[in-house]
Structure formats: C-alpha cells, structure tokens
Amino acid sequence: MNIPEGLMYTKEHEWAKIDGAQATVGITDYAQHSLGDITFVELPKVGQSVTQTKFLATVESVKAASDVYAPLSGNVIKVNESLKSSPETINQSPYENGWLALIGIKDLKERGSLMSAAAYKTYVEGLS
C-alpha cells in the first residue's frame, strides 16, 4: 500500500497535500484499491464551499458508489476536469494525476484532526 510522506490523511481514506493556504485533495491508494475500477467521478463546483468531514465528491466504481468527504473546510479553487473522461486515472495515480480538487483552506487549525503518513499507515494496517 502506497502512503506517501508529507501528505495528511483521514480515516475515510482521503488525503490532503497542504501547500501554504491551499490543499490538493484526493483519495488514497487504499481507497482506490478497495473500490476497484473507477468509472465515474462527480466533482464539486469551482467556488463552492466545503466543510471538513462533509460531502465533497462522488467516486463510482463498477461495484459501488462512494462519497468522498472534504479533509479540510474551505472553498473549491480548481477541480481535476480530466477525471470526467478518464476516471481510471484515480486507480493509476491516486496521489498525483488522480487528484480531485484544490481547496483554499479556511482554517489551518483543522489539520490537527488529520493523520500523518505514519499514523495513517498504522490505521490502515489495523483494518485488515
């Protein structure tokens, strides 16, 4: 299971790459692997505000439709439009090309409720 250092993680298997006042967010390698072949992504709208732990996007695989929750509160600056035609990019590159949205962070203190790579690794190992 690939869990890169430097990103922050949630128990719902989202990741956030925090860069100053912005964060790129997506779903983890564990999440894409459990979902299987991803066939559809419903992205948030640019300008929309999102709340930590609340609905951000829908990711569908052949097997199921899953909600993705925002790892941090803020407003959506940019979304990964390429996922509309190539949602399988999430399977191939969950932390890079398969990113979902760029969020302008509302409150940096919220990062305190996210996990480090090491903590998330321990958490994931405890699930299997």
């Binding site: 419903e42 569908e60 097997k63």
Partner: protein
C-alpha cells in the same frame, strides 16, 4: 450463516481473487479487475467457476410425470440434445426460479437452477411430480465451469476435438473430459459464444487448471459476469425477478407457452386481460454514472418505478440499467431520470430495446 464453498476456493485464492458472498456461497468477485475481465470475455475467452448453481436429474415422460406442468415452456416439443430457457411459476404466476432445461433422453431431463433456489425448487418440483417419476439432486456433487468468449470454440476444440463444431446455440452433447463422460452445452450468461461444462466435483479442479493452461483463457469473477449479463439485458434471479413478479411483467413472454397447461397459467391469463401494472424496461444513461439497485425512476417529477439492476457498461462507457415502471411509461424512447435517495444530481436516461451490447459473438 456459513457460506458454502465450491471445490475451487483454494484455486481462486492462489490466483489472488477477491472473494465475496453470492446466494449463500463464497465466490470469486474479481481477479485482475472487473473491467479487464469484462473486456477479455468480449475479446478472448474467460473461465468462470459456476459450481454453485444447482442441477437436478429428472426421469419421466413430460406429460405423465407432471413435469410439463411444472415449467412454463412446452417440454414436448424439445428435441433430445437441446436446451431451453424457461421458468417455474407459483399458482399466482410469480417466478419461483428461471432455469435451463436439458433434454438428455426422451424421458430424461436435467434442470439447471439458481444457487440460492436449489432447496425451494427441489421442494416445488417434488410436490408436483408424479410418484412414478424419479428426481435426483446432483447439485452437491456436480460442478460446472463456463467458458465464454469469441475464442471459446478454438480453445474447446483443442480439448474435445472437431465434434464440438456440431454444437449450435442452445444445444448440448456428451463428451469425454478427463476420463469422465459428461455434458457440454453451448449456453452461457455473457452474450458471447460460449460453453458450459459439467463435470464431477472430483474432476472439476483438474479441468479448471487444464483450461487455464491455454494462454487465451483467463479467470473471470462474478463481478464481470454481472456487467456482461447486464449488457445483454439478461435478468438475475433475486434481483430483477422473484416470486412476486410474473414473466409477463418481466418481458419473458417468449419463454412461456400459454397454449399448454402449467402451474400459474390461469393467473397469467387473468393478468394479461387486466393489463400489467408494471413492466420491466431497459434504459441507457446519458452519462458514465451508473444507475443502481433500488434507485428510483422518475418521469419529470412523478415517481414511476425502481431500478433492479444497473451498472457502468464497460463495453459502451455509459450507465445502463433495468427496472420496473408503471404501465404506460414503458415505451421505447421514453425519457426518464434516475435518482438515489440523496439530493445528488439525477441520471438522465432513455428507455431502449435490449440488448444494450449488439456486437456479441453469441450466435456466430
């Protein structure tokens, strides 16, 4: 409840399959991935473990034994060596099971039934079968592998010789495989050219390994089996049809013979006169988003039905589904929308004729 296991469980685990429950059985859902396995079946050949399904052997004249009353198709017109898709109904016309009947000899039949219905079907048949007919449940000792895909003939010819070329769609014959004489039929649930191979549980693992030695053949799980059958518009018992649904509502008119006597016939004729309250329809979505089981179907703002099966179609790259709608909304071309129970955006779709996928090798 403990899940039952086929003789191939260890083989699936060796191949790295994701296992999951289906109809009371622990079955392989996928190996390399549903999309890959789906595409391989449409282009090459896939091997499916279908040992969970039930097989009954019944001895008797179709009329005298009462067997012809038990199924909705007319068994008397079947020739030896042919298969027929049909259903067993309750007195109210509801579907107890859908099944394939094999006429082994003039007075000998094999019924192939759904795994989750084996005990219910056996009880139903025995209840209506005459005393002098003989019923045998082979399910616990007979295995079945499905070999499906446009290259299935090439693969099987290597194994069974040119005799296999005589098998036309929905026929079967006996072949010697691994020293055992058993049934091979040209049938399946994928829409591709394919065969179902019956062999004792003792030999089924050897057959599985033997078929997988051919580089054209790859294992496929129930995940791909589901998307393949859905692209063809084949119903799945327990999901699209059940005891509360009649074959008329499910669009199975082709598989019933109202001119002969069978259990449930009177109820069907009465319902035919009053018109169906609901009809099974097939619909194609305008996007990649998948309609799913239990999503609601709308015409404008009016709720008209419910989705029974739906998926992203791997061959067509858009969402497809089937479900029941109120009579009058079932015409091809009708625009509908499909929604889950949340406030998420709706899926726009149109009712179309099945099958969704029209380039299959089924009858080639």
């Amino acid at each position: 409840m403990d899940l039952k296991q086929t003789p191939l469980t260890e083989e699936h685990k060796k191949l790295g399959a994701q296992m999951g429950p289906f109809g009371g059985w622990l079955m392989p859902i996928q190996y390399s991935g549903i999309l890959t396995e789906h595409a391989w079946t449409r282009q090459q050949v896939s091997l499916f473990d279908i040992c969970h399904m039930g097989e009954f052997l019944i001895y008797g004249d179709p009329q005298k034994s009462g067997l012809n009353r038990i199924v909705s198709a007319n068994l008397e017109v079947m020739s030896v060596g042919s298969c027929r898709y049909t259903s067993m109904l309750n007195e109210a016309g509801g579907i107890i099971d859908d099944l394939i009947v094999y006429r082994l000899k003039p007075d000998q039949w094999m019924f192939v039934v759904n795994a989750s219905r084996i005990d219910i079907d056996a009880a139903h048949i025995k209840r209506y079968l005459s005393k002098d007919a003989k019923f045998e449940d082979l399910s616990a000792r007979l295995g079945k592998l499905d070999l499906q895909g446009p290259r299935a003939y090439d693969v099987l010819r290597q194994l069974l010789g040119p005799g296999i070329s005589a098998l036309t769609y929905y026929t079967f014959d006996h072949f010697v495989l691994l020293g055992e004489n058993n049934v091979v039929s040209r049938t399946g649930y994928t829409g591709e050219l394919g065969y179902e191979l019956y062999l004792s549980n003792e030999k089924i693992t050897d057959l599985w390994k033997l078929l997988l030695k051919d580089n054209l053949v790859k294992p496929a799980g129930l995940g791909a089996r589901d998307t393949l059958r859905l692209e063809m518009g084949y119903t799945l018992y327990g999901q699209d049809i059940d005891e509360n649904i009649t074959p008329l509502e499910a669009g199975m008119e082709k598989f019933i013979d109202l001119k002969k006597d069978f259990i449930g016939r009177d109820a069907l004729i009465a319902k035919q006169k009053s018109g169906d309250a609901r009809k099974l329809v097939y619909f194609a979505a305008e996007s990649r988003r998948a309609p799913r089981h239990n999503y609601k179907i709308y015409s404008g703002t009016k709720e008209i039905g419910v989705v029974t099966s739906g998926s992203f179609s791997p061959s067509l790259s858009y969402g497809i589904g089937m479900g029941y709608v109120t009579g009058g909304y079932d015409l091809v071309g009708t625009k509908i929308s499909v929604r889950d129970n949340t406030d998420k955006s709706e899926i726009l779709a149109s009712i179309i004729n099945k099958p969704f996928y029209r380039r299959s090798s089924l009858k080639k």
